[in-house]
Amino acid sequence: MTLGKVLVVDDNHDICDLLALKLTNAGFDVTQANDGITGLELGLNGSFDLVVLDVMMPGMSGIDVLRRLRDAEQTATTPVLLLTAKTQERDVESGFGAGAGEYMTKPFSPRELLVRVKAMLARSQS
């Protein structure tokens, strides 16, 4: 009985594995993708409860994936957590402008991330 289906998209394999492991240990059913295009494809077809998305990715950036997810009906309201390395307000806003909802800057604390994910899911289910 999983806590939910989560999609993790990050081009850094090690970070992606780290996120996946943390969430799996916590009881989630995790799918991984290492680039934006695969991530988008999986996201659109996978009926995930939450998506963790890295911003800086070659091919298709996290913001781009987010925009397209929001444009599609089935994922328009899926909670998305953006992982951004920038600490500039503007980048964060542009993420929000595209409808992110939440972001975390890198470097991040894996425990905080888990707490955030759980909170976001709780909010979206209520």
């Binding site: 090690d14 780290l18 890198k106 470097p107 991040f108 425990r111």
Partner: protein
């Protein structure tokens, strides 16, 4: 008509062919060796990674045993582990990172790096500085400060950056000092390092504002603005805007966008004087444009007809006339 002996020609041809072959063989050899190194690296990383990830994903009680597993890695795997852990520090923070820092210290990473700061190879010294910065432990401070006077510019730069990662406000004057003439440490690196300190040594910044060296003044202003050190605001306006150097005046005008208040308007208005350099006028106009105070608005209205197109544009954008509805977004 020149006649060349066949032996010379054949000789040259042979030499050239041999050299070409040698180069091509070398190219292939480099590629093969890189592939081999990559394979070995991948094998080792595959053994190290799960253990490190265990630590990074551990919850409270699990941390200690997971750290022990990493600390117990054999010497053959340790360099790979160390590299992997340090790379992870780029993306991870928190208690798990602190735990891994302890493991690194336990296995002597910091010790070795500190020893390497005395190495004869500049590359090793620079790498050592970087590692000390990544480990981020305050005991590495002294080693890094020594490297700020290293004969090699790369080493000095990496040391400055690494000190930023250790983040100690008491380092402010030392870091500013590393900008002395002849040092060539990029001011942006020192500035960023100073920002890493979070809190600031206000006295050191004030001293920086009055320094002899232009680059130091520049950096002190930029850092004061970013960290919102309001105590320096007046000095920035009074001394910065009248500094002999154009670059410093520009920086001061920009800084006042964050540090300034209504009191700064007269100084900024003076900086838009037509005798002033264009870059400074533009910067001052832009800052005034971001201020809601009536004196600023009034002055901007005057600048709407200025000769300099950039000044005009900024002044107009900031003060839409009452006639054009929604002329500004």
């Amino acid at each position: 008509m020149v006649t060349l002996s066949w032996s010379v020609l054949i000789g040259t041809l042979v030499v050239l062919v041999v050299c070409c072959t040698a180069l091509l063989v070398a190219t292939v050899a480099v590629r093969l060796s890189r592939a081999r190194r990559a394979r070995r690296h991948d094998e080792r990383t595959a053994q190290v990674k799960p253990l490190v990830l265990e630590v990074l994903t551990a919850e409270d009680e699990e941390v200690a045993p997971a750290c022990e597993a990493v600390a117990a890695l054999p010497d053959t795997l340790w360099p790979t582990a160390e590299t992997f852990v340090l790379a992870a520090f780029d993306s991870v923070r928190g208690e798990v990172r602190d735990a891994l820092v302890q493991v690194l210290i336990q296995r002597g990473t910091l010790e070795r790096a500190l020893a390497a700061t005395q190495s004869r190879s500049a590359v090793r010294r620079a790498r050592a500085a970087e590692v000390i910065g990544l480990v981020g432990h305050v005991s590495g401070r002294r080693g890094l400060v020594r490297l700020l006077s290293d004969p090699n510019i790369e080493v000095r730069t990496v040391a400055a950056r690494a000190l930023g990662q250790i983040g100690d406000p008491h380092l402010t004057s030392i870091l500013l000092d590393s900008l002395r003439p002849g040092s060539d440490v990029p001011p942006s690196v020192v500035g960023t390092a100073l920002l890493g300190s979070g809190e600031t040594d206000t006295a050191a910044l004030e001293a920086g504002l009055a320094a002899d060296d232009e680059v130091v003044r520049l950096t002190a202003i930029a850092v004061s603005a970013e960290l919102l050190v309001l105590a320096t605001a007046r000095a920035v306006a009074d001394r910065g805007l009248t500094d002999p150097s154009v670059t410093v005046r520009v920086q001061a005008a920009r800084a006042l966008a964050r540090l300034g208040g209504a009191w700064a308007v007269p100084a900024l208005a003076a900086a838009t004087d037509p005798t002033e350099a264009s870059v400074v006028r533009v910067a001052a106009t832009r800052t005034l444009g971001e201020m809601p105070f009536p004196p600023a608005r009034a002055h901007l209205a005057l600048l709407r007809d200025d000769e300099d197109p950039d000044v005009r544009r900024l002044a107009t954008a900031a003060t839409p006339s009452r006639e054009t509805a929604g002329g500004d977004r």
